[in-house]
């Protein structure tokens, strides 16, 4: 049963931040609520004051800027999935969204809410990490910017301070000869990832050597994580199938998975090994295309 709370639907960001500042730890932001309402129903989260930003149109946008893509925090998953701009220039984001939960959930849930939920099995965070995204948080005191990996602190825990709101996600323009791919393993199509893997590969001009690589794992540790040792295996090398397999092996030792009803830790390590290899191969093919 959901506990009683006082409800606010601010009309502007300023109003929302003022409420958050006033109620600090006792206040909680809701946007689509597709994750939060489940926790509230289970009594795991029981805010005294619920601040609803679903109607904040000033945070609902997809903007194509010179330096990259800017997503307002209340933008729905479905808007991202169906955006022709994103399908063309950041297709991996649209592909990820298509596999996130069900159409109903994507219609109402927001990208910002998903990231703030801090579930290590969420789909967006690993993809945002692979795309080298930055998050902007805002409070009455001003703004802070941080990488996604610095935002995800622990199991369901983020770097958001009381009074702070995630307002924007920035994705830098994709460099030339870059390919990014994502997949997750799950048993039921609309479920969370048992393990999710996103990889971005940038090749050098002419030589085909891997200049930059980012490997991000979902549901493989208390937070979505970069597999930096696996990245080191690939960086500066000409990528062969053997090397990609080695990166998978290294990533599986780097991961810190848990056992739960979906899979054992051992099985998850095996999934990391296989999926890193496969997804890196797909990213490489896209970088070459």
């Amino acid at each position: 049963m959901i506990k009683d709370f006082e409800y606010f639907a601010p009309k502007t960001l300023k109003e929302a931040l003022t409420l958050l500042d006033k109620y600090q730890d006792e206040g909680k932001i809701i946007c689509g609520g597709q994750s939060l309402l489940i926790l509230m129903r289970q009594g795991l989260v029981a805010p005294k004051y619920l601040i609803d930003i679903k109607g904040l149109s000033e945070l609902n946008y997809i903007k194509d800027a010179k330096e990259g893509l800017r997503l307002g925090a209340t933008t729905t998953h479905r808007a991202i999935e169906k955006s022709p701009l994103i399908q063309k220039k950041y297709s991996v984001l649209a592909e990820m969204e298509r596999r996130l939960a069900s159409i109903q959930t994507r219609n109402w849930g927001s990208i910002g809410g998903n990231v703030c939920h801090g579930d290590p099995a969420g789909d967006p965070a690993p993809v945002l990490m692979a795309l080298n995204a930055t998050l902007t948080t805002t409070s009455l005191k001003g703004e802070r910017n941080m990488a996604v990996e610095d935002f995800c602190l622990d199991y369901f825990e983020t770097a958001l301070k009381p009074g702070e709101l995630l307002t924007e996600i920035q994705i830098p323009a994709v460099p030339p000869r870059t390919g990014t791919a994502y997949t997750k393993f799950n048993v039921i199509e609309s479920d969370l990832a048992t393990v999710g893997v996103a990889v971005s590969v940038t090749l050098g001009s002419g030589d085909g050597v891997c200049q930059e690589v980012r490997i991000a794992l979902g549901a493989s540790a208390p937070t979505p994580m970069r597999a930096k040792k696996a990245e080191a295996v690939l960086k500066g090398k000409k990528l062969t199938d053997n090397l990609l397999a080695e990166a998978g092996e290294v990533a599986s030792t780097e991961a810190e998975p848990i056992s739960d009803i979906y899979a054992s830790a051992e099985y998850r390590r095996e999934l990391v090994k296989v999926l890193v290899r496969r997804v890196a191969k797909e990213a490489l093919a896209r970088a070459k295309a």
Partner: protein, 159 residues
């Protein structure tokens, strides 16, 4: 403390006072009395509570009623035009696209939203359109056949 909630359901405007923790499915079923939308899993898994909100399929168990303030909601009760069934309803009947019937209203609303968005979906797209809806009798094939029949135009005259 109760809050004022104004919304339109199946074309009919309503003005209610609700506790803000009330879910949309509760307002539809318990306050307005439209029990077509089912409260199944109550945690966004089963889709039996699917309604169309401002043109989008959503799970009404996972939305605070206050978030539908000012919105237009279509429930299964609003599908038929008086005594004239919606093509999807006719097709579901003809193809036996339900057994126990618990998932039917959700399936109909998810299919309705799909066809509004994409009148000519492929079989894969139909499957994707209802993948947030669970049929515990596992009657998926007949549901897909029914939607396919509507897509093929077999129920045009019923419009």
């Amino acid at each position: 403390m109760k809050k004022e909630l104004k919304l339109t359901v199946n074309g009919q405007p309503y003005e209610l006072y609700v506790n803000p923790k009330t879910l949309l499915v509760q307002v539809l079923r318990d306050h307005i009395g439209l029990t077509g939308s089912k409260r199944g899993c109550n945690d966004s898994s089963c889709g039996a509570c699917t309604v169309v909100l401002n043109g989008m399929a959503v799970k009404s168990c996972s939305i605070l009623a206050m978030q539908a303030n000012g919105a237009e909601v279509l429930t299964v009760e609003g599908l038929a035009d008086g005594a004239k069934l919606h093509p999807l309803q006719k097709a579901f009947l003809d193809h036996g696209a339900f057994q126990c019937g618990f998932c039917t209203s959700g399936m109909l609303m998810a299919s309705r939203a799909l066809l509004e968005e994409n009148p000519k979906p492929t079989k894969e797209q139909i499957k994707e359109g209802i993948d947030g809806n669970i049929c515990r009798c596992t009657g998926y094939n007949s549901i897909i056949r029914a939607v396919t029949a509507v897509v093929k135009g077999e129920y045009k005259e019923a419009k």
